[in-house]
């Protein structure tokens, strides 16, 4: 039992040590002019859905949960956000070419409709990010209409 205690203690020391390493946060103080909600004058209900269900991983502004301050969970989250922003950054949407905007709108509608997004690993913890059938329809219809209008 002695070695088990030692390993446990060593693990604890490592985990505590990890907590003091500083992490970068994905937060900006102002809303960019290229922001999706701003440039497209998105209606309030749709904007709210986007902010709750999409913006945390697909924009330059993450509303961090408490456990993001616990490592290594925080790093996993950071990695997740970087990947999300690489494929779609709603803070920079207005700066995309019209072609890219149309492609992204199509992909967004598809991913939401097929329940691929928001990720189940995300809604598993963030219940408020789940989209009901009604919300999904409102959001997808809006994205399709916007795509046709561009």
């Amino acid at each position: 039992m002695k070695w088990l205690k030692r390993i446990g203690l060593a693990l604890l020391v490592v985990l505590v040590g990890l907590q003091v390493i500083p992490t970068r946060t994905n937060q900006s103080t102002e809303v960019a002019s290229s922001d999706f909600i701003k440039t497209n004058k998105v209606p309030e209900d749709v904007g709210r859905m986007l902010l709750t269900s999409c913006y945390n991983c697909h924009s330059n502004n993450t509303n961090y949960p408490w456990y993001s301050r616990v490592q290594p969970v925080g790093w996993l989250l950071e990695n997740h956000i970087n990947k999300g922003k690489a494929v779609l950054n709603l803070s920079e949407f207005g700066g995309y070419s019209v072609r890219k905007q149309k492609s992204k709108l199509k992909s967004m509608a598809n991913q939401i409709e097929k329940d691929e997004m928001p990720l189940s690993s995300y809604t598993f913890i963030h219940h408020d990010a789940r989209l009901s059938q009604d919300s999904k329809k409102v959001l997808v219809d809006y994205l399709n209409a916007l795509q046709d209008s561009l």
Binding site: L12, V70, K100, S107, N110, S120, S121
Partner: protein, 196 residues
């Protein structure tokens, strides 16, 4: 400590759930006949310049298309990778200056779609979503830079819950890459792209 462990375990478990729900079926077959008879917007044939500048792009696009016809996601991924490579080698500077901006937008979008296809060999539905967008990019590219062969734009009204989708084919014969072996015959020629 316990909370931390729980958080890590739940993260891993839910990540696995994401993988487990891949490969769901495309859409229902209700309203099939009524949709099949619906006419898509048929545009007149168009003529493009004879050019070899898009030859390798067309070759790899058609290989990708054939892989999707066979429901072969792995092959589609490797064709997508090759397409990504040749798209990256396209010589923009040899094109007329006023067209370069639009061509760059097309190439950027096409590359992004090809990249997604190359990275999702185990998610054929996702590959097909990007293939459908990619097909519009390749068509628009050819209209500007020209082609070395006749191509046909084919429309399947049943794709994506009857929203429909288009692709390019080397012949009029319909073998559907968007629905694959589930619905190989869905589609009709909406535009013939011939070379001057």
């Amino acid at each position: 400590m316990i909370v931390l462990c729980l958080a890590i375990v739940s993260w891993g478990a839910s990540a696995q759930m994401d993988h487990a729900k891949m490969g769901h079926s495309e859409n229902g077959h209700s309203n099939m006949e009524s949709k099949m008879t619906q006419k898509a917007n048929v545009s007149p044939s168009i003529k493009v310049e004879h050019s070899l500048s898009a030859t390798t792009i067309i070759n790899n696009y058609l290989l990708l298309k054939d892989a999707l016809v066979e429901d072969n996601g792995k092959k589609a991924a490797s064709s997508g990778k090759m397409l990504l490579d040749v798209l990256g080698k396209f010589d923009l500077s040899s094109q007329p200056a006023p067209k370069q901006k639009e061509l760059k937008d097309i190439l950027d979008d096409a590359k992004e779609n090809a990249e997604h296809i190359s990275e999702n060999g185990d998610k054929i539905d996702h590959q097909r979503e990007h293939f459908e967008i990619l097909s519009t990019d390749i068509r628009d590219l050819i209209v500007i830079v020209g082609a070395d062969r006749t191509l046909y734009q084919i429309h399947c009204p049943m794709y994506n819950n009857n929203k429909g989708g288009n692709w390019l084919n080397e012949s009029k014969e319909v073998k559907n890459p968007l629905l694959g072996t589930k619905m190989p015959k869905c589609g009709n020629v909406i535009q013939e792209i011939t070379v001057k």
